[in-house]
């Protein structure tokens, strides 16, 4: 573990060095700083666009290394970044293990969709119980009465179902299994929630592209994919039944709708199986994590001020409008209010910024 940390620290310092080199070339103002961050790869396309847009108007440079949520948390723990990115919020135990108080700031929303390959079927309704049957091997054909009951207006073929899952550990699996565990007690007992699970049926593939590739090539296949990827490649996906009983297709609007209603004061909240109206049930946040007390690792005060200004901008209407351009969903206003309130508590040597 220690060597991994040292390697990460070395890699990040290299990143900082190279970004410093780039800075000297196109620096426009003297009070600009280099803001360094690392973490989750899921929001990477959005962060790339957002940080690029930010840099056009601000003097600061932002570098974000897509090293995975685990790497983002480790980097913040090692105090080698200004903020980290993570798809799973820190548990109470993980928070206690951090060297200082950590704030969670949601930045955008995404979802996990169930993509399928059924020629001639444009509209497919599914619920958690059907998905549980498909992934546990008790529902093996598309004309199974359980699926037919959810799709009275569709003629489903007599075709074997090939469930596809992620072979690599991933946040997508985590969000999908978090939803399944909430909506199906059988799933909660047999598989539970995690970045990788014990699978007994189906085919495995690496990454969203791997899963999507197998689904496209295999008639009768179904698998879970990150919405940002599914929307980009325009692969058909199922409407899912939410706790209100509605069958909801995943769109940026229905994903945002999942965050309507009560929002946790520290933003640490999974919104899968959301009871909100019109909510797509496998929606999720992605967070930026930072220390509440910004005076650490001999940082300058200006560094903290600029980091905070970037994060506040991330919650602005301008930044949120960028989310849908790269197939993510914007945060609803109630979430932005909570996040802004949390950002206002950030301090430097005890003095609020």
């Amino acid at each position: 573990m220690k060597t991994v940390q040292q390697f990460l620290a070395a890699a990040l310092s290299l990143l900082i060095l190279t970004s410093c080199g780039a800075k000297s070339k196109n620096q426009t103002s003297d009070d600009g700083v280099v803001i360094t961050a690392a973490g989750a790869t899921f929001p990477l396309p959005y962060y790339n666009l957002a940080f690029k847009t930010y840099q056009q108007n601000a003097a600061n440079d932002v570098t974000y290394g897509g090293v995975g949520s685990g790497g983002g948390i480790r980097s913040l723990k090692d105090k080698v970044v200004d903020f980290g990115g993570t798809d799973a919020y820190l548990s109470d135990k993980e928070l206690a293990n951090m060297p200082g108080a950590v704030l969670h700031i949601p930045t955008c929303m995404g979802a996990v969709v169930l993509a399928y390959n059924l020629a001639g079927v444009d509209q497919l309704n599914l619920n958690a119980i059907a998905l549980e049957g498909i992934y546990q091997g008790t529902i093996t054909s598309w004309d199974d009465p359980q699926i037919a009951a959810l799709n009275p207006s569709v003629t489903l073929p007599k075709l074997a179902i090939t469930p596809v899952y992620r072979s690599d550990g991933s946040g997508t699996t985590y969000v999908f299994s978090d939803y399944m565990s909430k909506a199906s007690t059988v799933w909660a007992a047999n598989k539970g929630t995690g970045k990788s699970l014990k699978w007994d049926f189906g085919v495995a593939a690496k990454g969203n592209p791997g899963v999507a590739g197998i689904i496209k090539q295999t008639p009768g296949a179904i698998g879970y994919i990150g919405s940002e990827y599914a929307f980009a490649v325009k692969i058909p996906s199922a409407s899912l039944q939410n706790p209100k009983g509605e069958f909801v297709a995943a769109t940026t609007a229905t994903i945002s709708a999942a965050a309507n209603g009560a929002h946790a004061a520290d933003s640490r909240q999974m919104i899968t199986n959301s009871p909100a109206e019109g909510a797509y049930p496998i929606s999720c946040f992605t967070w930026i994590i930072l220390y509440k007390e910004q005076a650490y690792a001999s940082r300058e005060k200006n560094q903290a001020v600029q980091t905070l200004s970037l994060l506040k901008w991330m919650l602005s209407a301008e930044a949120q409008a960028l989310t849908t351009k790269v197939h993510y969903a914007p945060l609803p206003t109630n979430v932005i209010e909570v996040a802004t309130k949390n950002l206002d508590t950030v301090s430097f040597n005890g003095e609020t910024l």
Binding site: M1, T3, G68, S69, G70, T162, S167, D168, G169, S170, G171, K191, G192, G194, K195, S196, L197, K198, W199, D200, G202, V203, A204, A205, K206, T218
Partner: protein, 284 residues
């Protein structure tokens, strides 16, 4: 003085490499300890469990060890009927001719192609063929991986074998001819007995390469954590499970993956040592 410095530089470089090797073994073993502690060394090797559920976390390496040995030996079996004729062609029948040079060069070229290229070819060309042939429905699995592995190891086996074949002394061959032997007789009676252990060793070394191959296998084996018991079964090899899972792994799971890496290290080291040992005896 200069000579002494040169000698010291050589010594330091060699020692450093030795230390790096030893350091790798140590870090692998150190990282693997929590998994060996939690499950027991032999239980870990013999268990088929792979359940990351936090309440009943359990990991075992057996499906991956079986997957590794199954694909590697199957690949070797497929490779022999191709590698041996190529070796005989370039090393005995047409030794020194233009045709032998060209074929030798092309086969050696196969060895230089990156693993990911083989993987892509396997994924987009071989897999559809296997599906069309009706051999398996998904096209992924042990057999598909073994075919691609076989193509990857043929150049290793054949060029080393050809080397050993061409080391057979001409006196012996001419002696056989003068006794009225045909080429086939000569190969059976003289070349094989003389070069046999060398050829065997070159196949062992090729096997060692098949054991550790990662990228192409990861793309083709199906990446399921079950014990593969048939040619069409999907599975995982020791290398592919590490490639798949290390990204988001932590705690006991990370340790289990490092333990698999440690076992793979030992396995390939043993295979290579065996090959080197046989070659050494051959050279005496």
């Amino acid at each position: 003085m200069k000579d002494l410095l040169f000698k010291k530089a050589l010594f330091t470089a060699s020692l450093l490499l030795l230390l790096i090797g030893a350091g790798m073994v140590y870090t692998l073993f150190d990282g693997a300890l929590p998994a060996f502690d939690a499950f027991g060394f032999f239980k870990f090797i013999g268990s088929t469990a792979w359940d990351p559920h936090p309440d009943r976390e359990a990991y075992g390496a057996l499906p991956f060890i079986v997957g590794t040995l199954f694909t590697a030996f199957l690949a070797l079996l497929i490779a022999i009927p191709f590698a041996l004729p190529v070796a005989l062609f370039t090393g005995v029948y047409y030794r020194g001719t233009k045709a032998a040079h060209i074929i030798g060069a092309i086969v050696d070229l196969l060895a230089g192609i990156p693993s990911i290229v083989y993987g892509l070819w396997g994924f987009y060309t071989l897999r559809p063929w296997i599906i069309e042939s009706g051999f398996s429905t998904g096209g992924f699995g042990i057999f598909t991986s073994a075919v691609v592995l076989a193509i990857m190891i043929i150049p290793y086996a054949s060029s080393l074998s050809a080397e050993f074949l061409s080391m057979v002394p001409n006196d012996l061959k001419e002696g056989a001819y003068s006794l009225g032997a045909t080429r086939l007789d000569m190969i059976q009676q003289v070349v094989f007995p003389f070069a046999g252990s060398g050829i065997f060793a070159s196949f062992i070394l090729a096997l060692g390469r098949a054991l550790g191959e990662t990228m192409a296998v990861t793309m083709l084996i199906g990446n399921t954590n079950n014990l593969p018991l048939s040619l069409t079964a999907t599975g995982n090899t020791m290398a592919s499970v590490i490639a798949n899972q290390f990204g988001e792994a932590d705690g006991l799971k990370l340790s289990a993956l490092i333990a698999i890496a440690f076992l793979l290290f030992i396995l390939t080291a043993l295979i290579n040592l065996a090959g080197k040992f046989i070659i050494k005896r051959f050279n005496q």
